[in-house]
């Protein structure tokens, strides 16, 4: 059975420390001022003293029905052999169709390469070698869980079997591979 790599963001455990943000920059040589992932704060909501706040990691949602792949005129945006959405910088002409098509605002034009850029799940440098993505590896709160969702013994499969994983903008039918678990979020 083909693998399906997925990531769960256990929002209650995310402390917004941006270790993931910085780890990603160095792992992937992301240019100054640009980010493949960031974890902004949501809130505080409410009225003093009854307030709440959490952080929500943003990055490519690794859609299984990805609008970026669909609109790409040169097939630079594609699913690789493991179903991971990647950009072939060689084929990308920088037309930005994918930037517009992405409902998650996850893409940008890399200042150094001129090609569309985004999270790759650290496919080449890490995941293809059996490691987890850099953000997952460094996550201080332990909020990020990565693995093969179809492997029932994987940590992520177990986690998702016990907790409701929500996807962003489900109504778009993009079938993201990033699940947000909000259980325990105040």
């Amino acid at each position: 059975m083909a693998k399906h790599y997925a990531m769960a963001v256990v929002v209650a455990k995310c402390i917004g420390c941006q270790a993931c943000t910085v780890a990603c920059k160095f792992q992937n040589n992301v240019p100054e001022g640009q980010y493949r992932t960031k974890t902004p704060v949501v809130g505080p909501k409410g009225t003093f003293p009854n307030v709440s706040m959490y952080f929500e990691k943003q990055a490519c949602q690794m859609c299984q029905n990805a609008p970026c792949v669909e609109v790409c005129p040169t097939k630079a945006s594609h699913y690789n052999e493991a179903g991971v959405v990647l950009v072939d910088v060689d084929k990308c002409v920088g037309c930005k169709y994918c930037l517009t098509a992405c409902p998650y605002d996850a893409r940008f034009i890399n200042k150094d390469t001129g090609a569309a850029d985004k999270c790759t799940f650290c496919w080449e440098a890490r995941v293809s070698k059996g490691q987890v993505p850099a953000c997952v590896s460094t996550c201080v709160g332990g909020a990020l869980v990565f693995g093969d969702e179809k492997d029932s013994n994987s940590e992520i499969a177990k986690l998702l079997s016990k907790n409701k994983g929500e996807v962003r903008k489900e109504e778009f039918g993009t079938r993201p591979s990033i699940y947000y678990i909000f259980e325990g979020v105040k």
Partner: protein, 747 residues
Amino acid sequence: MKRRDFLKGALYGTGGTMIAFGGFGTLTKLDPKKAAAAEQDALSTVFSTCEMCTSRCTVALKVKNGKVVKAEGHPNDASTGGSICARGNAAPSLLYDPERIKKPMLRTGERGDGKFKEVSWEEAYSYIAEKLKNVQKQYGGEALAVTSRVNPNDIFFRSIARAMGSPNMFSHEATCPMTRTVALEATFGNPYIGADYGNAKYIITNGRNFFEGIHVPMVKGVMKSISNGGKLVVLDPRFSVTAAKGEWVPIKGATDLAFIMAMANVMISENLYDKEFIAQYSVGFDKWVEAVKDKTPAWAEQETGIPKDKIVQITRDFAKAKPNCLLEYGWRTPWTGNDYQLRRAIMIVNMMMGNWEVPGGYFRKKGAALLKPYPELQQYAKSLGGGMVQPAFPKPAKGRIDGTGIKGTPGQVIPVPDGAVGQIPESILTGKPYPIKAWMVYRFNPVISMPESERVIEAIKKLDLMVTCDVYMTDAAYYSDVVLPECTYMERYDPMIDNTGLTPKFQIRQPAVPVVYPDTKPAWQIFKELGEKMGYGQYFPFKDMEEYLTKQLAAAGLTLAEMKEKGFWVPPGMKPFFMRGKDPKAPAPTASADQKIQIFSEELEEATKQGIPEYKHYPQPENGKFRFIQGKVAVHTNAGTHNVPVLNELMPTNTLWINSVSAGKLGIKEGDSIIISAGKYEHKGIAKVTEGIRPDTVFTYHGFGRISPKMTRAYGKGINDNKLIPNELGEVGNVVSSTTFVTVRKA
């Protein structure tokens, strides 16, 4: 079409060889799998100990083609789980920052003009040596003060002062956890006390902001506790990230001791404490009973603003979790003049829960010496040795400027390695008890890290000599006569790092790459060479750090080669050790003379006449004024990282948090330019209007508003909190961070 830009840069950045560029449009791309393999082969790993803050996490530095390309957590270290924080991750950004100081600098203009010339190390040493000798001749060796942020090279730095006959050696700690140190020493005989967060079922924290003032193993511990269903209660005037993960109780500032005493009051009146434990392991409890008998929840409600029922409920629930419960002892603890008594009371209430030497409680750090009485444990570890044997230093002719060490005065309990650093500018400016004429600072930036920045600058301007050793042209460096460029932690060895917790743990710091800027040096070398220049070579009896480390390790039965390869050492097979882990009646001696927990402290009674904590009421801000508080943020370290490119990019500036109702009354809206006034001093800033703070309090993140234009990214951005705080000395020599009131108006 941006397609053209693609050709400007290599995909993998400097040193990357994965894509070979030919002429236009002809690029040879390696097969991705082969390319990945090649990249992996080129990567080597050097294990070391991070210094992006001072929590000393183990790290794995990834080196490719002679460059550090990435910093990661050490994959084998259970305490971090292989994680490091944003600052740790940003290490290469510091390493290759062109704004680091690259050569020794000598001031050429007036202090504060920013005019310097590059000089050779020889010139820099000669200049310092001559000036110091003049100071010594004219005023005595004691006219030199040295200050550093506690670190493994202090022994070399301080040897200069000792050799000159100065007793005036200071750490930064009076600006940070020194009151906690005083409390722990008074209560347990030494301050080497840790907390087992991961196994706690109930954690109460007064202001300690675990999730923004990040210490990775502690974050892991607290998160484990919460994830296992543990309760977290956060008393803080501000809604911090930690507060967001627990129950936020917005306590009035400077009243925490009232809450703690009321907890004790409830525990005693409702019989919620561990009487057998108190009887077996402590002395002086009767005096505490007396001290808190009128500290009722109703009284505490008046002080703290927390409803009395809430105080009672928290106390009962906390006590139900005993002994696996923690009342957090604090991290940055110079809030009020008598802060040390808050820390004392916190530890006394902890001990009432019997949370001593049990999982989920407090424990003594288990160095080899502590394992000796345990036959089954003593074989696990031997202590590290000294790296050198120094001859005796001359006895200083005078006592210290801060009175540290004088019996029968508060100086008796000021920790000797720390001292009251706030006294330095006072002695410079007033000449009392005698003048300080030369000040050397190393990894310490008094202009930003000490209260009353302008007074610190005024003091520096009066000196005969000011020397800074650091990696950036810091604000203190900017006003210095000589600036000595240290290399970063990624380019040097340091003496061994002992990070012992529930088991012994030794860590190495070793270079991952040669120095990036050839004229920077490790601090041990700088002070050794300066010492030799001054004729103090006998105090530096070692060749280099490898030799020094080898000696240190030999005493512990370890080798340098082994440490270099593994990065850290814990005794194989040893489990976390709690003295009362198996038997709640087992001996659990403290380091006090009678080995008991000092609920009443004879030493404090002698030093401050307060052997038992006494409540001191501090005023609350009147209408129109705000209590000014400060704190840490996850992406920066104190005053250390604000100019590091990647971290500056994430957070270049700060704001003043103000409650929306209070802001509304002042006509202040989100993002407005404001003036914060503390009376004597004012500071411009930007308002952050929020529901996440008490209406009587304003808050800002520390370390911004930098004064040195030579740190171009951080210069002039945001609010320098310490500009607004007066330089006041607390009862045990601590600075006082949280009793300043300010007004706020639109700019």
